[in-house]
Amino acid sequence: MSGVVDQARNAETFLADTVHEERLDKLLWAMRLRRDAAARQVPEWEELRTLASEIKEHTLSNLSQYLIQFEARATANGMIVHWARDAHEHNQIVYDILAEQGANSLVKSKSMLTEECELRPFLERRGVRVTETDLGERIQQLDDQPPGHIVGPAIHKTTQDVATLFSQKYGSDPRNLDAAYLAGVMRENTRPDILNAPAGMTGANFVVAETGAIVVATNEGNADLSAHTPPLHICSVGIEKIIPTTESLAVFIRLLTRSATGDKITQYTSMFRGPRKGAVMHVILVDNGRSSRLGMKRFWHSLKCIRCAACMNTCPVYRRSGGLSYGSTYMGPIGIIMMPTFEIRKYSELPFASTLNGSCTNVCPVKIDIHEQIYGWREVMEENGQIQVVKKEAMRVADEVLSHPTLYRIATTALSTALEVLPHFAVYNRLNSWAKHRDVPEAATETFHEWYRNNRLHTNEEVRRG
């Protein structure tokens, strides 16, 4: 079991690199503004959000029925449906499917679920060569780094970073910073893999129960290529991705890309309802903790997520910390409320990587109450003993002082010790951290309480309570 992710320290490291931090902050804020512009063009935007939220809540509260319906329809369509209880079982199923076909290489399009399951290292250890075909994922694969953002995995890298990386791995020109040139380098290098791959893998943005369909939205066309060129198509999808009908799909398609990038739709919004002639299609329905999360009264709404990353783009903490600072598959606001369900100790500090400002909740297309869940997770961490003992003790002392007016008055009249008592400063091992980049407020010569006593009590009745 790994240690606790120190997101604050990772963020500090990221911030020290002013070039990358300021660039990421500007880029993603611009994405947030593009989302705003797109929403402005849709008068029914708020109504769509409410519909999307209600459709998901209906589906999740009837999930077993919809899973069974999907399985039946997909099977009738010619898909082979599998069920995976956890990441390991998912990975084993994928490997077994490949082994059965004698496939020792795989091309795949972007799937956060496969990142979550750590599929690639599992397959590579067993001799299967995996090629990511999504440009951002490919960049990260070549750099041996996990994705830093769920829509733009390499968005934290500058064009120079990519040019340098490609020159090392592909022998291209490290000084050519034309993004089109670099995209072309990747295309040339992955095209042979795509054309010759015995197997292709995709994720899915949505799964339609009524028609037994999976829906994949990409800009690159790589998912369609990964699905159509090899004779074997494997699709892995979390069980929470199900929606009831094609009619309901329209609501999500209208919200997804606008929320993610500000475009109205992706270049390719594809629907797969079965294998093409002469090919085989498998669908793996993955649980990996989702059904348990469904039973968490305060947190099950996080399952509505459609992976648009609007919350990350708007989050002032994410934009200044970088996605890799969270040390997790899913990052930013949605990551904070999902990751503790996978490993509570490892991610026990994430709920504190937030100012609870609430911007995320208000851009979320499916109206997840993200910042309120973040607040809720803080309480869970405390109840589960995940909060550092020193901090908890400091809070206990604060409560003791603040519930006794006499103690409070004594503490605050001794002005030089006010800083030690004030709960905002009562923290674990970083007592002087306020002062690292900020001046400390000057203690007043008399508190309000003292001023009131000296200037007003002779004119007003003193009100006693308690």
């Binding site: 002005l415 006010a418 309000f448 309570r465």
Partner: protein, 248 residues
């Protein structure tokens, strides 16, 4: 109707002049104000840290001190948001329920209850960068938020301040991006918090304000700390001071 004045702990200790301005302003408006002297804190710092058990005694004390008043006013959006929306650490007594129902931020009290729009005793012929806290915007609905693009644009703090002769507001970018204070976040994620503060100041300064104003002193405490460290001597005022007739 008697109004009980709640002075947040950090105003009590560091910015008593804001508490004084709030009191004087209410008195000017003919409000019968009392200051219950046994008050301490609303419990927000502990609760926001997840330390619910450690907020219980403080919240119960707060309910006892204020629970019998028909109206409680505090010059803090974050304290009001905490009491109205998150005050669950203590026992659910009638006093507590009363407090939750009857607490107002100063802006809400002036704008919605007293419905005051003019402050003829004040004059402030200066350019102001107005900052509204996230608690006020998204917790208390005191101003529209940029995320909800179809909502009509409004701001209760701005509406009040507009009643002060001579005042001018400068427009700056990312107007409702969080300033970075966030309570204990300010120290647990110090680097990010400070960068957010520095960035907010930079956006404001681009618009050349003469001072920075907010109805939340916690944001100003953080922004002022960032500004002074950068040797910027721009003045900071709480909204209550401006409405009460402070001069630059």
């Amino acid at each position: 109707m008697q109004v009980a004045l709640m002075v947040p702990c950090y105003i009590d200790m560091f910015y008593p002049h804001v508490g004084i301005a709030t009191l004087e302003l209410l008195e000017r408006l003919g409000v019968d104000v009392v200051y219950p002297t046994e008050q301490t804190c609303c419990g927000q710092p502990m609760a926001n840290s997840g330390c619910y058990a450690e907020a219980q005694a403080t919240e119960e004390h707060c309910a006892r001190v204020f629970g019998s008043f028909d109206c409680v006013v505090t010059a803090s959006g974050s304290c009001t948001h905490h009491i109205r929306n998150k005050f669950t650490a203590g026992a659910d007594t009638p006093e507590k329920q009363n407090l939750v129902r009857n607490t107002y931020d100063l802006v809400e009290f002036l704008h919605d209850v007293l419905k005051i729009r003019e402050f003829p005793w004040a004059i402030f012929e200066h350019k102001v960068a107005l900052h509204t806290s996230c608690s006020a915007i998204r917790g208390l609905n005191m101003a529209s938020m940029s995320e909800r693009v179809h909502d009509p644009v409004f701001s209760k703090p701005k509406a009040l301040l507009s009643g002060v002769p001579g005042i001018e507001f400068v427009e700056f970018e990312r107007v409702d991006e969080c300033c970075g204070f966030g309570g204990t976040f300010a120290v647990t994620e110090e680097a990010v918090s400070a960068k957010m503060g520095y960035d907010k100041l930079a956006f404001m300064q681009k618009a050349s304000p003469e001072c920075i104003v907010s109805s939340d002193m916690s944001c100003l405490m953080h922004l002022q700390g960032c500004a002074r460290r950068q040797k910027q001597d721009i003045p900071f005022y709480h909204l209550a001071e401006i409405l009460n007739g402070v001069s630059l």
